[in-house]
Subunit: 372 residues, 4 copies
């Protein structure tokens, strides 16, 4: 199941960058959830291209058309399908792409995997554009999680080596973190944000690109969600996070930093609080043995610099079987991490809702006619 995922909540992503329509089918949603379409649009807009000075000038409305699974504004519980039209496609001559594979892209691997039959235009099914339907699915799950008092917040922790202030993963100010989404970049420190923006613009000017790290927290997950061995929270989230294009690393809690620590400073000790049992620290990122411990589930995702750059690069010519240089024209973001924040939140929402359904069953949240 390459482009389908899930257990009780399953999603099926389809489409190509330059095809007429991309979309997603979400099966297993609880029925009776009143979808707030404005909220979905707002969430998807955070991913959409064309918002910043540097982002790709490709303009897509990314207006999801819901063709099934929603009746009179409420989820039916049967598959919910959203179609998104590709409007601003300029395929032009893509034959060069099939001859001169772009470094850092799936051009070569896609060609081998599909024996030359995959759609090469704009990376086809491998395009970052496929994260639009993924973000839609996450926007839906996120709304349902909110009714369970579960919220997902993020910031850009690092771009081009420039770090934001750290998030508090023990007593997070969730509202403040949620408000970061309204800033030009979701960064806590305005100084850091300006430096990051300068670095991105500088890369753009130099026909180059930069990488970055996104840090996310899932706040409000009750203790006891998840499973040991193969189906722990980290396994499920990890599997989905590595499905986001350009992700090369995933770490939970303090992640790789804990490898340099002693057990005596890394262990999170439990303590009784007015809110029940809590941990005094949260180095583990809210998960022990694959199962939530009630603390915020925190993780970081590392994105490589955008592979598409305007500089001349070394590649091969598959026709002439010789070395060749390549200059990629066309539209691309100099820093994919700046647009990937809602994508990371989306897959976090999808994985969390799937785990929650497994624990709680599919009891509906609302009754028809009640506001929710």
């Amino acid at each position: 199941m390459s482009s389908m995922w899930g257990n009780l909540l399953t999603i099926s992503i389809f489409g190509e960058s330059h095809g007429p329509t991309i979309g997603v089918v979400i099966d297993g949603l609880p029925s009776g959830h009143h979808l707030d379409l404005d909220d979905i649009r707002a969430f998807m807009k955070r991913r959409a291209p064309g918002r910043t000075a540097w982002s790709t000038p490709r303009v897509e409305a990314d207006e999801p058309q819901i063709v099934s699974g929603l009746f009179e504004g409420y989820t039916t519980g049967t598959p919910l399908t959203a179609l998104i039209q590709n409007t601003d496609t300029r395929s032009g001559d893509y034959s060069e792409l099939q001859i001169k594979p772009r470094p850092g892209h799936a051009d070569l691997t896609g060609m081998v995997r599909y024996d030359g039959f995959n759609d090469p235009r704009g990376s086809g099914h491998f395009s970052g554009r496929l994260t639009a339907p993924l973000t839609f699915a996450g926007a839906v799950c996120r709304q349902i999680l909110k009714q369970h008092k579960i919220q997902i917040v993020s910031h850009i922790k690092e771009i081009a080596g420039i770090s934001d202030l750290p998030m508090d993963t023990v007593n997070p100010d969730v509202a403040a973190y949620a408000a970061l989404a309204d800033k030009p970049l979701p960064v806590i420190s305005d100084t850091a944000s300006e430096a990051m923006q300068a670095a991105v613009l500088d890369a753009k000017t130099n026909l180059d690109s930069v990488g970055g790290i996104i840090e996310t927290m899932i706040v409000g997950v009750p203790a006891g969600i998840g499973n040991p061995i193969f189906d722990g929270i980290e396994s499920r989230l990890g599997s989905l996070l590595f499905a986001i294009p350009a992700v090369k690393g995933v770490e939970f809690g303090d992640g790789f930093a804990v490898t340099k620590r002693k057990g005596s400073t890394n262990n999170d000790s439990p303590v009784f609080s007015s809110a029940g049992i809590r941990l005094m620290t949260n180095h583990g990122g809210g998960v022990d043995g694959g199962i939530s411990n009630g603390m915020p589930i925190s993780f970081r995702v590392g994105f490589k610099p955008t592979a598409s750059i305007g500089r001349e690069q070394q590649t091969i010519n598959l026709k002439t079987k010789t070395a060749e240089t390549l200059v990629i024209h066309g539209r691309h973001d100099p820093c994919i991490a700046t647009r990937a924040v809602p994508v990371v939140e989306a897959v976090a929402a999808i994985a969390t809702l799937d785990l929650l359904l497994e624990a709680e069953g599919r009891r509906p949240l609302a009754q028809r006619g009640q506001s929710n």
Copy 2:
């Protein structure tokens, strides 16, 4: 599916640390593979406790008893099951564990998840002991992969902040890396190895523990294996690697380091070589768009310091609902990373064989009576 995993190749892990028997069922193996049991034993021995000055004194023979799926020395293709007896269990009084949860363990989360009914003795199903059957499954898959000219090699890249020399992920000396398994620690630099060992012993002396990083390469995977979107190599491997107890981070290729790079220095350019198309560098770790590109698949796994330490720690008393201190007696490793190398290789082998079967079908490797 918590303790079952896989698609065409499926494994089912069962047992508890202090139960009579742990084991694994492997379904979907190709038939006709002649199992080399000595090789399996040798591989499992790399994980077994009691090999070094510092490792837990719990002694387990870890002799797998194969009760199905093997006939006259060859895999039948039907489920292969290995049972491993737990012999050296000293449960003693575990009631304290149910009252005073150990920091950094799944004591609390397991209790909530299973409403107090999970086996608490020696961490029960959450125990690192469950990696023994996992290692067995990996040992079997590894043998089959070898016949496909696919090899998996590793070293301990870091312990307690002390780094080994880097691996060459472009033109690896696979035989030399494979030979690291015979050293006291699988470390390239003897100087680094000695410093690591000293750090581990020092932690042990101080009733403390240290973390570490394992680096692994899967060499020989042909280009074109894997899938886009949800079922890429990184997703599958990531999902399995996070299933190993104590793993807090996973990164592919240069991992988080690429987030600080420019695209112009990070992109791996293709080149024609005598061995066909190769990449000049391997920052991406052998995977583009979820699919193998023919270069070694390289990744790093970060292990936290062992949670069980001899020092007094802060915890709670679930009975009296008060704060309390805890001193963990019993047997534990001061550095789990030193024993986890074959476990990491095992899950790499399992994931790789599953992906290979998907691409190649289940054509057998051998005919009865032929040596292989």
Copy 3:
């Protein structure tokens, strides 16, 4: 996974009877297959309403719009998606349906399952209309199977107790059986066909409906496809056949008739023939131990009489909590079995291709530019 199915080949069905669009995503198709769209249309037409004197007057073009997974006429190997617009929907006032559940329908069960939030118009997601995208998926798989010399043929074995001549499941005349699709009813005996048609028209006249049995053969499946225990051919096919609305029974080979036989007359003995090993008889329907034996895989599927009938029926009023009578107006077929033949063939094709991919891997059938 309610509306998704499969292992290597996965399909995801979505939509409601009166929603704007229904459709299907097919993931895992081999790349490089040149789709014959006319053949697909012709196959789907066999299911489409409005072809016979008695069938529902609802007219739907059922023209599938392929929006992904097809590039320059060839399957790409990434998800192939077909959308079908619902054009002839007359929802009118469906509020009665939510108050007076129709006997024999999923009105009540759907209401309970989805807490009253499912789309009730025209049975919503439970509608037989959802077999249109299923038939599309089968049409695609059928084409690919044909290149592997696997063909699927059927006849209506029985309607209203009137039997067709039996099929030869040992040495079938596949071309002749395939040609049945061009007849008004796919029935071998014209006399039986006329009697069946009369019975259907009679039921229609009497505002009633009749049931029937479809018999299908999958010819050309090589021996050795399938699996023991839970994943045998009968289990996979059975699971999919029971997913077709109105199916109440499935039997393989001689089915329930064998329960009255002796082993000495029921066992199929092998024999050497010019075509290799064959069985002298085919009471078992081509499957032993879940695995194909090389004989035609034959099975029969029993359809209940259409639940929607024009006669007054007894039901309840969910609002007043009293008994009530119901007269169903609207469009419906007096015999669903007459249109279900391609649906049965479709699911047979889907299951067979999935099993074949598992055995053979995903090697492509063709190279770009070659005709196939």
Copy 4:
């Protein structure tokens, strides 16, 4: 996944007829269920060989040894594993089996599927003996269902064409049906039972075998369990029932009989009763649109006559490539249906519990220390 099955509740069956150990891993069980081992033994005894005058003289204690997932008598929620030792194996010379395939068995198909490497002794993994661990798994699920007031009852509806009295599927006397298990044959009519027994003994005397039909009801399933399209109750149950060796047909409710009916007589009308909404009749077998309607879920399973018979049969010699005759010596039942009743109930219990967990989540049934 050939020998693994399930969604939230997953089972993994392993072993061969003449291997040392067969068994089952059950993952996803709710924690906190106090297992009644005597009840499990009693249930398994109904399947065990050697109970009747005609059944195979192979004597197996079939004592399940639970090695994981049970702690202090309660299910832990982690994988529960039962091992069953094969004691009475007399493999002797099985080389003939590999040369002369037995008609009606998986000898040939297994050989082709596994390229000659499958264990041929006593049918290996294809043996009916593998239904012992399946029955164990069902026995566990059945106990948990009973606490949800769900009971599964059966009778032998037909052997050798001799019919038992019909079951009442509208207002069943569950206690009376449950008591049938204590009779020599679970048959309502003693006259029918005697005739059936005579027919079986007659077949045995004549070195032949007879088939039969088992009818089962799952009583107490609340309305609203199950799913539309691919994951309905009939699909799940059908998939598991066809996994039982020798099953050739499955029908729900009145099954194939409804194909001869009119809609006006077949539709089940709802009615208000003191027990809530019920149906006046139950021709549909308790399922509409894949979802339970609250009526007993009823189905019938057709078993072919045992393939192993003492008479001389026609077969081939794979070595000499010539026709040959075969006389099967060894132990076998002249009527498999008489022992299959608990197996059918077992798979019904497994499927029902899986569906129930999906709907209800994994909330435990009991608290430690409470009797249940």
